[in-house]
Subunit: 150 residues, 2 copies
DNA sequence: TTAAGTGCAAAAGCTTTGCGGGTAG
DNA sequence: CTACCCGCAAAGCTTTTGCACTTAA
């Protein structure tokens, strides 16, 4: 992510915190920065690795709590995936994912036709939809190559 | 799921096992039956609860292993979701999900327009898509009602 | 000042694995 | 017979929590 975009995202975060009356701490800022630097839908643990490399005093619990609160105020999102550890996504606008069913990799993909998809009426379920996302499930390049050589 | 459909699914399973050279054990059969009876995308632990209620000798490890092998041969699938425990889906044909971002509930939804969506070309990613699924993320009826009363 | 966040360590929840024994084919 | 599966228990990984202390506003 380029420097300017990153700066803008951080400003958004500051503003949301002021609005919500949340103290803006160094640790949460570090977690947000790590998320913006990582563009591969990391687990909480991987975010902790990155944060701890820059400041080894930040605890794992703080990273878990920070990611949860960032997601709650909508500065980051949780990604849908078939695996066992929660995956966070620094992008909040609508976009779509390639999901590898072998290695659980998540790859961003944009497609005008997918973006133009109308949200179906789900009122009969009593369900209020906030966002529509398409998942293209399959096998990524690396996993296919690994299978070929075996 | 009606009796006839269930019987058909079990036959499919027997056939796939014969084809793949996998022994067909009582325990795996019990896990498959539990999945077919549960229609709410359960976690492995919930499947174990159901299986154990019918035969308390079936261990948790066996249920985890059985679900994994059923998914590997394609008799069930893993569902994409934002939570922390793996969720299994007894449906294997393409369908779509409402995903509650509050309680992680997953609700099946079918929509002709969504089903008709063409799979975008992902060859530039080296990614081979096996299936396209739409997730409508939002808040389910129960969670909205809970929020209103609080 | 004070409400909220933090670090630590322990607990809790989810999943895998090693191993001796069992079973389908 | 033989490869694969099972139950058990232990280990491993992921996430949450209680508590005393710190900090942003």
């Amino acid at each position: 992510m380029d420097r300017q975009t990153k700066q803008r995202r951080i400003e958004t975060y500051r503003r949301r915190c002021r609005e919500g009356g949340l103290p803006l701490t160094e640790q949460r800022m570090a977690v947000l920065e790590a998320m913006l630097d990582l563009d591969d839908h990391p687990t909480a643990d991987r975010v902790h690795d990155v944060v701890a490399r820059r400041d080894s005093r930040v605890s794992r619990a703080t990273v878990y709590r920070a990611l949860e609160s960032l997601a709650r105020i909508g500065v980051i999102t949780k990604a849908c995936h078939p695996g066992k550890a929660v995956r966070y996504d620094s992008r909040t606008e609508t976009h779509h994912h390639l999901v590898c069913l072998r290695c659980d990799a998540i790859i961003d993909v944009t497609d005008d036709r997918l973006d133009a998809l109308p949200v179906p009426d789900t009122s009969s379920y009593g369900f209020v939809v906030s966002d529509l996302r398409v998942q293209l499930r399959g096998v990524c390049r690396r996993c296919r190559e690994l299978e070929e050589t075996s």
